[in-house]
């Protein structure tokens, strides 16, 4: 009995301390919606945001190239509110750690990006290496009938272009009071391409530079 006394105390304490962990609602892989990217748009006249999340769809999955996508969209006064609405609409919990790209619409040229960057960076699950880019058109509406993933090829494209010094989310956060440029994405025969760069200074949009890769 004495031999079991000390291990018994340790096991009892461990059980007491760890019981809370089993109640945490952590869903498993297979029970989550894997988010591949964000598309955010700001409407200055309405002062509202529209947030679209692209979710990977595995229903016809045979190999990784067969990933299809579906989109969930919500509007809100703030981007956080829109995100919360999407959480409620989604039938499964959102998993955003593997999201690769945040695509900001033209409306963000009228906004200071700091709040948007803060929102994404403060999310505990987001990958701080996520790429940020802009678009001049409503790309996702143009892709509405397509069920192939838009953000997967865009993320591959941006990985190549990182040699040109486009900052990631965390690097953007460090660029307060500095200038930086974000790639501007457009569709070229239904495939994403970087057509220009949007220059920002102190998170405020300045101008768009054509084919500026510096």
């Amino acid at each position: 009995m004495k031999a079991f006394f000390r291990p018994g105390i340790v096991i009892l304490l461990s059980c007491i301390l760890l019981t809370g962990c089993s109640r945490s609602p952590i869903p498993e892989l297979g029970n989550v919606n894997v988010v591949t990217g964000f598309f955010a748009e700001y409407f200055p006249e309405e002062q509202s945001y529209r947030l679209s999340l692209e979710i990977a769809d595995f229903s016809g999955y045979e190999k990784s190239s067969d990933i299809t996508a579906k989109r969930i969209t919500a509007k809100g006064k703030t981007i956080a509110y829109a995100f919360e609405k999407i959480n409620q609409i989604s039938e499964k919990q959102l998993y955003i750690s593997h999201a690769k790209v945040i695509l900001l619409g033209r409306g963000f040229q009228a906004l200071n990006l700091k709040n948007t960057i803060d929102f994404f960076l403060n999310h505990p699950e987001i990958n701080s290496d996520i790429q940020i880019c802009m678009t001049q058109t409503d790309i996702l509406s143009e892709q509405e009938d397509s069920d192939s993933s838009f953000f997967a090829p865009l993320s591959s494209l941006l990985k190549r272009e990182t040699l040109c010094g486009f900052p990631s989310l965390y690097q953007l956060y460090q660029k307060e009071n500095q200038s930086f440029s974000l790639p501007v994405v457009s569709l070229n025969d239904a495939t994403p391409a970087i057509s220009s760069s949007a220059v920002f200074s102190n998170y405020q949009y300045q101008r768009t530079v054509q084919n500026d890769i510096s």
Partner: protein, 479 residues
Amino acid sequence: MNFSLNLQENYENFKQIFQDNCMVVFRYLENSFAPHLKAVAIFADGLVGASLVNDYVVKPFIGSQPLQDAKNPLLFVKNSVLQSNDIVVVTDYEDCIKRLFSGDVIFFLDGYDTPLAVNARFPATRSISEPENEKSLKGPREGFCELILFNTALLMRRLKNDRLKLESFTLGNRTKTPVVMAYLDGICHETLICETRKRLQQINTDAITDTNQIAELIKAKPYSPFRTTGSSERPDVVANKLLEGRIAIIADGTPQVITLPFLFNEYFQSSDDYSINFYFGTVSRLLRYLSFLIAIFLPAMYLAVVKFQKEILPEKLLYSISAARMNVPLSAAMELLVFLIFFEILREASARTPSVIGQTLSIAGALILGQTAVEANFISVPAIIIVAISGLCSNVLPQMRGAMLLCRLGILLVASQIGIYGVILGALAIIIHLSDITVSSTSYLNDMLPHSKGSWMDIYIRGPYRFLTQKKDYLSKGN
């Protein structure tokens, strides 16, 4: 029971005792030259050689002419008539019964209350063959058998040394099993010898039929799943262990010989390592270490990653696992647990099933568990792969199978609650437990951090022979 001077009384007493034992034979003898000299030979049929009984006992006694003039007939019979290489005067009834069932002929002479035990042993036993569980690619193919006499002979053939000591014990109150403790005097530490001898003498049980019972009864940490005694069916392995300064315990009736002390790193050593080139021996040994880690940690790591730390997964792997697990009703933890248990059941069934239907059972198990369970969405493909790899890796170290299963399940349960932190905590718990085990004043993990130049050569790698030191410094006296 005491023996009587009267032959008829001894005869009646033994007849009474063995009246329901048809295998005990009583042969009444009279010397043809001195009919007043009567005797009874009692032996167990099947344990003695029939021709040996005739040649050693019956013919010599019946036909001995000088016997009629002998002043001390019993002494004369012992020294000059009976023709065995080993004749002992028996004074104790318990000893008499033990010798009878060891294959001796108990010889009662009229007028004497001290029978003779005449060695006429010829038990039925299988021949020396290669052990099934310790096959060797290039090494010797001899293995121990069930007869202690043959086993000790195999050892003596390999260690032609007057320092080889074979101390005899009788264990088991009812089975009276002969047990031999073998060691090399001058190489093995005196404290180890004394401690082992004391533990063997303290064994008080009805039956000893296997060396595993002895191993459990003399174990340092009886409740630990890790063994502190080694076992082998190969004489070359046991001889090498003795040369390192270890003790071997051989029991009659089993080919398994246990060696002690047994340290953790010995799980990963194989006699084949020394029969092949040291490069390949090193690779084999490293593969065993890797298999150990995979067998214990892979299911728990998979569970931790799938449930808690999904960020670790590369994108394509994440998609594969997500797609595979999409319609599976069970949680990942339950899936792994159920399949692990089923895998063990399949393994047990395969081991117990006669070989005639074993193959059919394997195919049925593979089809049922693999193909149909996945198609019915009871289980996901990644879970099957994980459990199969883990099970295969555990078969690389068959001696540690039980301990690995317990560790694997324990870490899996903890990982199902707190993810990778659980895996780390589980690993720490195993290391702490292993560190706590002491075998004959030596730490169980002693060799995992070698402390002398030569010992590095035989732990994680199999170094060239010129660098290998035979004796272990913590075991041997150094001479």
